[in-house]
Structures are given as structure tokens and as C-alpha cells.
Symmetry: C2
Subunit: 214 residues, 2 copies
DNA sequence: AATATACATACCGTCGTTCGGTATTATAAG
DNA sequence: CTTATAATACCGAACGACGGTATGTATATT
């Protein structure tokens, strides 16, 4: 056995195993040997497909990021105001059960400093672009108060991903509920009332699932 | 030469050298050998005072955090409303020239994932406690709109330290001005109007100094 | 048949950490 | 004020783990 007909399967196995181990023991605490051992393959296999350990982490990050391309279809719908489109993204993210299950399994990888910072970079640079268009639509159709769209996008993404769902402070259910409630106050105040009773309810349910897993 | 009479000087030298090297080359890229060489001492010296490389980083983090104890005197002043006390902290931070110079020299250490995450932990757990009292005062005396004080503290610290002064996106002057202006917009909107013309002006000057250094 | 690909294996260099040793200072009993 | 004892500050050689590489080999592609 020296050459596989379907190397993509090998790549996927490497990524899956790495993600699991990184999440279980942390990125730095996971050695290439650990991955190799768990994988039942050799170092050569890994270093043939990835040029470094860090590149595996980057690949995992991109994998996550590609999820976000899921917004695509919402953008085009013309039965929704800009605000409603943003709200729909919240609903989608909060009710996507399979994604939630995945999140629960890999929750600890977000605690890794390198992964955390990489993700934060995405949420400050590329991800805002994905929702800026909808924000501007909302400002044009009057559903969102006029303001700097890029700033608004960055601030919201930041608060949702690193304050509410903070890998740093953890996920106690009461804490999460307080935060979502405050986020509602906050977004209402700045003229982006995305969080209504329905979204808040979905968030509560999502948080309960999350908290149970930690 | 085997035993020094004043080991604190050695500790200080280790910390100073480490901070400089970490900031110049990054934490991971700086080896203990590098520090030892720059220090003109031995590995034994370092490992006598610190039990690991990471503990040096932690010590540097705590050093920074202790700066924040500077708030102390503002808290006690009874000639200021709660809001004015918070504003005074902004003014103090923005006009402290020696601190600004230090910040410029060590700006790159904030780009290190480990240091970044450690600092963020402080700003989500301990640092909010330091300003919560003043926020609550402000809510009592009517200078700040009533809301969850802890949430408000966390959100403001987070946005100021990691969105406006983001080690991730960098420090272009125009960007910073846009952000400060937006920060003013939403702090006004949520009922914490800390940023007036004076603070905004100070921020601009601070940013120009910062941008020149990068 | 020739070449590129997909792995395996043995090995290397670096770096954080350890550990035995030594010189100096602090402590305290005589 | 000695002098014995202990604790501290530091040295530097060596270790061990780990990320990465070089070389080899079998299979798939062309």
C-alpha cells in the first residue's frame, strides 16, 4: 500500500482526526505523533498533504469559514427587508441542528489562542463584507438606522462571536441569557433591532444545548 | 559571581529583555537562548526565577494589568458624576505620554495569540469589575442610562481594546478615526455618552502617534 | 515504459526544560 | 566576632520531545 486512489479521503481523515484531537487536548498539546497514531498512518502522509502543523489548523479554519457561505441564498431573496435578512441569518445559525451538534463536539478548539485569533481575523475582515450589503439594503429601505455599515458589521460580529459566545468566559446558561438580553437592548438602541422574541427564544434553546455539553 | 544580592534586578532585567524580544520577534520566535544571550546570563538564571517560558509571558501580562490600578484615585473623587469618572479614565489613558511611548515600543506583543487571549481574559473578567462601580454610580445619579452594568463594562472594554485598538486589523489613522467616531455614535445611543469633542480630539492625537510608530 | 503521486521510515536540528554543581549571602549558634 | 549551616542565585552541560526533512518504494496515471 503506497499510493491511494482517493487522496481526498486521506486529507479528510487527517482533518477530522486533527480537529478531534485539537479539541480534546488543545493544539499545542497535540503532537504530530498523536495524529499519526490515531490515524493509523505515517508522518509522511501528513507532510505530503500539509506542509506544517499550523497549516492543518489553517485548513480547519477555512473549513469553518466556508460554512458561512451558506448565507448566499438569503442575500438574493427580495421578499425581505435588509433587517429581515440579517434576522434570517440569526435564525438559520441558531436552528441549524447539525451545525450545533458539530459545534458542541469541537467547542474547545475555539479556546486555542491561534485558532481564536485566526477566527477573529476573519470576523473583522472578510465576514463583515458578507453582511455589509444586507445592512446597506436595510439602511436604504428604512428597516435599519443609517450609520457606517462596515463598523456596524464588525461590532455586531464581534459581540456575538466573542462576547456572547465567548470561548474565554465559558457558557453558563444564565450568563448567556443575560448577555442575549443585553445584546437585544444594545442592537435596539443603535437602530438594528434584529433580536425579537422569536430569535431570543431560539437563542435560549441553542444555549441550553451548548451549556449541557460543557 | 554566583549569588547576587539583589535578585529583583535580575528579574526585572529578564522581564525587560523578554518584553523587548517578544515584541521584536514574537513570542514563539524568541528562544530562551535569545533572551539568555541578550541578557548576558545563563539559562539557569531564567529557570531559577521563572518556571517556564510561558510564565514570563504571564508575568508580563500581570505587569500590564497592574497599570490599570491607576484608576484608584478617580474612583474616590466626589466632584464627578459616574459618567464623568469614566470619561476621566479615557482622558487619562489617552494623555498619559509615558504609557503611550511604552505602548508604541511594545505594540507587537499584542499580536501574539497567547498574550492577546490572556489580555482579553482580563478585560472580560477582572477589568470590568474595576469600572462597574462607577457605571452603577452613573446610573444612580442619572448621568448614565440604567442597564446591566457588568454587560456594559464588558462590551465597552471589548470594543475599545479589540475593535478600535485592534492588534488584528492594525492601526491606520483614517480607520481609527472612523472607528472612534462610530464608537461615539453607539455609546451615545446606548446611553453612555463618554466621548465628547475633547475625548475624540485626544483620541485622534493618540492614534496619530501610534500610527506613526507602525 | 516513463513519470508523478501517495505514502512509509529513518533521521536531524532545535528548543524548552532539567539537573548536578558552585559561589555567595543570610542565619544563628558558640 | 567567629564559624558552621543552610538557603539562595546562578552556571552550563545534557536530555528528551517534537516539528520537520530526506530518501525510498509501491501504485496509479499518461
Amino acid at each position: 500500500m503506497a499510493r491511494n486512489k482517493y487522496p481526498e479521503q486521506t486529507i479528510k481523515k487527517i482533518l477530522d482526526t486533527s480537529l478531534r484531537l485539537f479539541s480534546e487536548k488543545g493544539y499545542e498539546q497535540t503532537t504530530i505523533q498523536d495524529i499519526v497514531h490515531d490515524l493509523g498512518m505515517s508522518k509522511g502522509a501528513i507532510y505530503h498533504h500539509f506542509k506544517s502543523k499550523e497549516e492543518i489548523l489553517l485548513a480547519l479554519g477555512n473549513h469553518y469559514y466556508n460554512d458561512h457561505a451558506m448565507f448566499g441564498n438569503i442575500k438574493e431573496r427580495d421578499d425581505l427587508t435588509g433587517l429581515e435578512k440579517i434576522r434570517e441569518i440569526f435564525v438559520l445559525q441558531l436552528s441549524n441542528q447539525s451545525k450545533a451538534d458539530m459545534d458542541v463536539l469541537t467547542i474547545n478548539i475555539w479556546k486555542d489562542p491561534k485558532f481564536f485569533m485566526m477566527d477573529m481575523k476573519n470576523n473583522l475582515t472578510e465576514n463583515p463584507l458578507a453582511i455589509m450589503g444586507m445592512l446597506e439594503e436595510g439602511m436604504a429601505d428604512g428597516s435599519i438606522r443609517k450609520q457606517d455599515a462596515k463598523c456596524l458589521a464588525q461590532v455586531v460580529l464581534m459581540l456575538v462571536n466573542y462576547w456572547v459566545l465567548s470561548p474565554i468566559t465559558g457558557f453558563s446558561p444564565e450568563d448567556l441569557k443575560t448577555k442575549i438580553h443585553y445584546l437585544r437592548y444594545f442592537t435596539d438602541a443603535i437602530g438594528l433591532p434584529v433580536i425579537n422574541d422569536h430569535v431570543e427564544q431560539l437563542a435560549f434553546e441553542y444555549f441550553d444545548r451548548l451549556a449541557k455539553a460543557v
